[in-house]
Amino acid sequence: MTTLNLQDVQGIVFSGYNKYMSCSSYYLLQINDAKKTKAWLKNLLDQGQITHGEDKANDSTENRLNLAISYSGLEKLQLDEASLNSFERSYREGMYSAHRSTLLGDQDGDAPEQWLWGNKANSVDVLVLLFSKDASIHAASQKQHQAAFKKAGLSIVWHLDAGEKRQDADGFAVEHFGFADGISDPIVEGFPTASGAAAIATGEFLLGYPNQYDGKLTQIPISEQFGTNGTYLVLRQLKQDVAAFWTFMDEEAARQGITADYLAAKMVGRWQSGALVEPNQDTDPKTVSNDFDFSKDPDGKGCPFGAHIRRANPRAVGLGTSDAESLTVANRHRLLRRGRSYGKALENPRSDDGQERGLVFICLNANIERQFEFVQHTWINNVKFAGLYDEDDPLIGRVGNFTIPDEPLRRRVCGFQQFVSTQGGGYFFLPSLSALGILGNS
């Protein structure tokens, strides 16, 4: 059993603060004066403003703050070359680099040149995640921190406010298309929230601990003292076109003689309630569970192979010669999701109001290349996923076809549209509190 020094790990690793913090903002900052930034960093630590794992929220908690740094940020904070080179390659190159964007499918309209932030022209050094209990506390906190950024030699490249929280009857967050989200986060060994047997090794989400490969330690940048208890944070601003999504579902469903809800559920892999789509189901059973591994649906007659949630985590089918082997492989590519929706909910999901809304996708992983990039490239964006021919992820992919396995003949959606586009993104390092101390004092 892994015992963690919770005080050294930033709190966002253990929780998205959804329960007590109804507001959040994401500040993407550029360092203009490293000396001032270091002093600001030291001050945040000294005042205990950076939330760690031991600092548990309750009804009276007002704020939470976490902080991550991009590769260019570390360069500006004057780390030496050997230290900089000890970080993994994807992080050093950055999400906007040519090779990474090819891997991630950020092409054409999603290409980094089109982004609002995180590309070469609007590069980001520091990410500050602010959370508050309610709107008035949040407004005060934002004002105070924005002033502090100015004094710290930090300019705001971009900032995103999470929208009003939408929750369903089961307490799950509801994303803009109307689906319950965040149901299947992995249970991690040694985390205070961990319970149950199906735990993923700590080293998949925190550096310095055994990972899913024979208990090997995931490589640590710089030194044990600096790297342990840190991890990598991936952030993407994903704009959702809700009206286009539901209008397409209406039109295509009418053409196929099925319902829009059924078609959308097949594409997502879950019904709007979050219930898994199972074989021989026509409507939402509204019984949400994450206790499945697709072994009862080996042919995709319930949840199609190409469905979003089956791509994001294929579980026990298709990655090996047995269910157990497949599950072992799947569990070497897990992500810990910590994002929220941004923008206001669209009142009539069939009619666009011209406002931007979407998902602040945030995930944590100990190895960006083996986890986030792998999931994005080999599963989500892979047109050959699970033996398919020319299909992209129907929910967050770009354009392609979609096969719905059925008996005796499959159904096919020929040419779905793009409903989600990338507006910005970056790879960050989420340091431990001791590493932040080292940076602040350097």
């Binding site: 080179n85 000890s86 390659r89 090779h99 090819t102 891997l103 990972n211 490969y213 024979d214 090997k216 995931t218 490589q219 042919d299 990655l319 090996g320 010669t321 082997e325 072992t328 492989v329 070497r332 290349e369 083996r370 990039e373 792998f374 490239h377 080999t378 892979n382 047109v383 050959k384 033996g387 021919y389 020319d390 396995p405 008996e407 005796p408 003949l409 499959r410 159904r411 096919r412 020929c414």
Partner: protein
């Protein structure tokens, strides 16, 4: 038709390295539209690549040897036919390339020159043995036609579910029957098991004297030899040093630049064989075993659980000091290396545990050749593999939009059109 590996390895003339690189690189950058050579003209060609092995790769230990040009091709039928087709069809390209190489004479001798420098492969894997390039093309077209037909007629077909195949088969009645698969595709597995059984029985029978005294002596000698081998192996393994430097080859950026430009990738790895005849001998035995498995067992698009390799080969370089590995695979490098670790740790460890990036920079620590350690050390193994890689100058795939699984599925669709059994399984393929 049988698929064959051509591996032409020639020494590059001193001072010609840059000129040769400058000639090949632009072709590789525009493989489809360049006006020098169109590889798609050669109907027997599945994949080919040109790359250079620098004299100092992977370490400076071999700096006295010249840089080598490798021309790899995976083809249907005879290698000599392919070489003649190339020279007859595009003598300018072929002669220009090889005029940069040592011992090249002229166009008249080029064919024999190439044949005499073809090193084939010590072990060769083909995902779908017998599947000629043109058959792969035809079956993909057939699948597309059937897909379109089903899309357009789905509701009509569903009116008589038990007659779906019949209706489709009638519509495509002009399609010719698929050729039967090679004998070994369906029987190799059994032959492999029979060989193993005979070996074990002979050894046991000999040992207990059932097969006469000479057989008994031989059996005992084999066992003693195996024990001695195990002792020597362990002594090597305990003194070998794994690469523990956080080090990235300067080639990695160049390799990454030519990767992931399409759905498939090519991997070229050149690595030093650990010095001494023990490692070379071990490597040769392991490669013989892998070749046997590839010919007899792994004939259905699945090499020990890896379902993304179209063609792969291992070649011990003529100097016997380096091992060349080439593979044409689906998906990303990260996925490919992951599949290796997830499914084929034993086989790949047995091969590469005999190799090193340089003095005291060996493969990750291994115990008992393949049983423990080795590639199971994920990060160290990936770094080792990455640092052994070279970027190719030219790489051609005849069907960049087809995965190994697609090709297998297309064949099942074609075969199922002429079969009357297992209707449900066939419908799943559509």
């Amino acid at each position: 038709m049988q698929q064959n590996p051509m591996t032409v390895i020639t020494a590059i003339k001193p001072n010609s390295l840059q000129a040769l690189t400058d000639y090949l690189k632009p072709i590789g950058k525009d493989i489809k539209k360049n006006d020098v050579i169109q590889f798609s003209h050669y109907q027997q060609l599945h994949y080919c690549s040109f790359f250079i092995i620098p004299s100092n790769h992977p370490s400076g230990n071999l700096s006295a040897t010249p840089a080598l040009l490798v021309f790899e091709a995976n083809i249907d039928g005879e290698i000599s036919t392919f070489i003649n087709d190339l020279i007859n069809d595009n003598s300018v390209f072929m002669n220009t390339v090889y005029s940069y190489c040592q011992d090249y004479q002229d166009n008249a001798h080029l064919g024999s020159y190439l044949l005499s420098h073809d090193y084939g492969a010590n072990a060769f894997y083909v995902a779908h043995p017998g599947q000629a390039r043109n058959v792969i093309y035809e079956q993909q077209q057939l699948r597309k036609d059937i897909e379109q037909y089903v899309d357009a007629n789905r509701s009509t077909l569903l009116e008589q579910p038990e007659k779906i195949r019949e209706t489709i088969a009638n519509h495509f009645s002009s399609t010719s029957k698929p050729k039967p698969q090679p004998f070994l595709n369906s029987n190799g597995d059994m032959i492999f098991k029979a060989i193993l059984a005979v070996l074990v029985l002979t050894l046991l029978g000999g040992l207990f004297g059932f097969l006469g005294s000479i057989a008994q002596i031989i059996a005992i000698a084999v066992l003693v030899l195996a024990a001695v081998y195990a002792i020597v192996l362990r002594s090597h393994e305990s003194s070998d040093k794994q690469d523990s430097r956080p080090w990235e080859s300067p080639n990695v950026s160049a390799v990454q630049d030519v990767e992931d430009r399409q759905l498939q990738n090519h991997l070229t790895s050149v690595i030093e064989i650990k010095s001494g005849c023990f490692r070379l001998l071990t490597l040769k035995i392991v490669l013989f075993g892998i070749n046997l498995v590839a010919k007899l067992v792994a004939t259905k698009g699945d090499l020990s659980g890896i379902v993304t390799i179209h063609f792969a080969r291992w070649v011990i370089l003529p100097d016997k000091k380096r091992l060349l590995f080439m593979s044409n695979y689906d998906g990303s490098w990260e996925n490919y290396l992951g599949e290796f670790i997830d499914h084929a740790s034993q086989g790949l460890t047995a091969v590469w545990t005999n190799t090193q990036l340089g003095e005291n920079r060996g493969f990750p620590d291994t115990k008992w050749l393949f049983l423990q350690g080795g590639s199971r050390d994920e990060q160290r193994f990936k770094a080792f593999a990455r640092n052994s890689q070279l970027a190719e100058l030219i790489w051609y795939s005849a069907y960049p939009d087809l995965s190994v699984k697609n090709i297998g599925n297309n064949r099942s669709i074609h075969e199922g059109l002429f079969s009357s059994s297992n209707l449900a399984a066939w419908l799943k393929c559509l």
